[in-house]
């Protein structure tokens, strides 16, 4: 039992991250507004739809602003609450666009005491027209926005609930890289020591790494279906990950196409090391050559900095460790099965001869 603590730990961590990743709610956010365009000097009534919000339940009436930058903003002249997730806000739009631009984007900010602040970037477009009115920008009016702390995942208007994929897709890729690295190290040890167990370990770790890669690709495709609109859009990151899976399929085809046992193990080990090192330019160089929709490229949110908040860290880092430990356990089981099979084969051969 004492020996197996890390396997129990792996299962517990994985269960924790799977349930926490699914069950923890998102922070309140703003789903959409209508209309999405406005003209200067006009008075518009914005129909706002919130997400996980408590507009009616709140003690305080929500405060609503349209924000241009850190200085210029306007507050709503009138706010009507319809239900917890719907409110109407009337704005008297100012008579000019700051900086003399033709069109600008304004962000919508809503704050109440239960939800804390929520923001919709580029909520409406403001167009410069000749309408004359007395409305003007107010400066430094957005203040007193206490953040609500709590066990909640951040709300991002371009990701929404799909942000949870971070706890499944990303740790699987992390674990795949670590597991394939271990496989390459075992291949190296096989070439050094020529002990069969290292080859069994290397091929088992490669197999588990391949399964993790397939899972990573599939979870990514499900995510892409809902955020990019299509499961497979020939994005450069999708392409290179599919190619990296091909490399490891080729490894298993190589293993099965050599008859002689010793040379099979030796050549497979050589190819495994070569393939792992060739994987590095494939996964880390090629995606920089062209534009990608994938988070982390071209201004899309990724891990690190403000995109990974403390609640997400509580689930994300354990998930990485959990997947690595769990995969290592399964790979070790596989390699033991292979060792036992080989021993049984040898025994059978000895008995029959």
């Amino acid at each position: 039992m004492v020996k197996h603590w890390w396997k129990i730990l792996a299962v517990l961590i994985l269960l924790y991250t799977i349930f926490a990743g699914i069950l923890v709610p998102l922070k309140p956010g703003i789903l959409e507004v209508y209309p999405i365009t406005g003209e200067t000097g006009q008075s518009i009534n914005l129909k706002v739809t919130g997400y996980n919000s408590h507009y009616l339940d709140a003690q305080q009436k929500p405060r609503v602003w349209l924000k241009y930058d850190s200085v210029f903003a306007i507050s709503a002249s009138e706010v009507n609450l319809i239900n917890n997730t719907r409110l109407d806000a009337r704005f008297n739009l100012p008579n000019n666009v700051p900086g003399g631009k033709e069109v600008t984007e304004l962000s919508l900010i809503i704050h109440n005491d239960i939800d804390g602040p929520s923001l919709l970037p580029s909520a409406i477009f403001l167009k410069q027209t000749e309408n004359a009115s007395a409305n003007s920008w107010q400066s430094d009016i957005i203040s007193n926005l206490p953040l609500k702390e709590g066990i909640q995942f951040p709300y991002r208007s371009n990701l929404q609930e799909s942000i949870r994929n971070l706890y499944y897709h990303v740790p699987m890729w992390f674990a795949m890289m670590i597991i394939l690295l271990i496989a390459a190290i075992y291949s190296f040890l096989y070439l050094r020591k020529k002990e069969d167990k290292y080859d069994h370990l290397a091929s088992s770790y490669s197999a588990v790494g391949l399964v993790l890669g397939i899972l990573g690709l599939v979870t990514g495709m499900i995510w892409a279906k809902y955020t990019w609109g299509r499961a497979w859009s020939w994005d450069v990151k999708q392409n290179v990950s599919a190619i990296s899976l091909l490399i490891y399929f080729a490894y298993f085809i190589l293993r099965s196409s050599i008859d002689d046992d010793a040379s099979k193990k030796r050549l497979a080990s050589v190819y495994n090391i070569y393939a792992f090192i060739a994987l590095v330019p494939l996964l880390f160089v090629i995606p920089r050559l062209s534009d990608s929709l994938h988070p982390g490229n071209g201004g899309n949110p990724a891990m690190g900095g403000e995109d990974l908040d403390n609640t997400m860290r509580l689930v994300f880092y354990p998930a990485v460790i959990g997947w690595i430990l769990f995969s290592a356990w399964i790979a070790n089981l596989f390699s033991r099965i292979k060792s036992i099979r080989e021993k049984l084969d040898i025994k059978k051969y000895e008995i029959s001869s």
């Binding site: 070439l191 190619i243 990296s244 091909l246 490399i247 399929f249 080729a250 085809i253 190589l254 196409s257 050599i258 008859d259 040379s263 030796r266 050549l267 080990s269 050589v270 190819y271 090391i273 070569y274 393939a275 090192i277 060739a278 590095v280 330019p281 494939l282 160089v285 090629i286 050559l289």
Partner: protein
């Protein structure tokens, strides 16, 4: 140092001479590859009629890739089995690999420039930056040559080696090929407005990446080759 290097150099020269002689005697193999290139180029021009510079560069590299695969597979397959054992008794594996690499890379350069000459003869785009185009061809031949030479040494030990070589090498060659295509597209005249070559800053990072990948692939081939050879 020279005492160690001299015999190796002699062996290297002898091995290179041997490869050259084999190719002179079995002219069908090497001529076959040039015929393969010519046929493919003709098919491309027949079917495309008019070809824009971008497509030209991509087709050029794809034709080159398949020609290179055929050429290199031949160089290991034609001396199988016992002859390897014979070389092993005479010299060390690194010398054999280096001789193969030098020979194959020169062969690939010949194929690359031959294919290019054929394209130009028929109707190719104007190359505005020949230095960049030649650098891309040289670095591409280096990378593709080293991957194919190393992996065909693995593939010939298995059944169905030509299919296996494709399976093993194409995923690994993709970064090199993508960089080569990108660099050579930068070196051709894409439209009438382009008069001067792109400034060096535009492509220096790609060039450095391609060189870096080549160095990694070559170094790994040299390190790992001795373990394949012993049989």
């Amino acid at each position: 140092m020279s005492g160690i290097l001299f015999p190796m150099n002699n062996q290297l020269v002898a091995l290179l001479k041997k490869d050259l002689k084999i190719d002179f005697r079995q002219q069908f193999a090497i001529l076959g590859i040039f015929l393969f290139v010519a046929t493919t180029v003709f098919i491309v021009f027949f079917s495309f009629k008019q070809i824009n510079p971008r497509e030209f560069v991509i087709l050029y590299w794809i034709i080159f890739l398949f020609a290179a695969q055929n050429a290199i597979l031949k160089s290991f397959v034609q001396e199988s089995g016992k002859r390897h054992l014979y070389y092993y008794t005479l010299t060390d594996p690194i010398t054999v690999l280096i001789s193969k690499l030098i020979y194959n890379i020169i062969l690939l350069l010949l194929i690359a420039f031959g294919t290019y000459a054929l394209f130009q003869l028929l109707a190719g785009p104007e190359i505005i930056d020949p230095k960049l185009f030649i650098t891309a061809i040289v670095l591409g031949s280096l990378g593709i040559g080293s991957v194919f030479s190393f992996l065909s040494a693995i593939a010939i030990k298995a059944h169905n080696s030509s299919v296996l070589l494709t399976l093993l090498s194409f995923p690994i060659i993709i970064p090199v090929l993508m960089l080569c295509i990108k660099l050579s597209i930068m070196s051709v005249k894409l439209n009438e407005a382009m008069i001067t070559p792109l400034p060096f800053e535009e492509y220096q990072s790609d060039l450095a990446m391609l060189g870096g990948i080549d160095v990694i692939l070559l170094a790994m081939s040299l390190v790992l080759f001795s373990t394949i050879w012993k049989n």
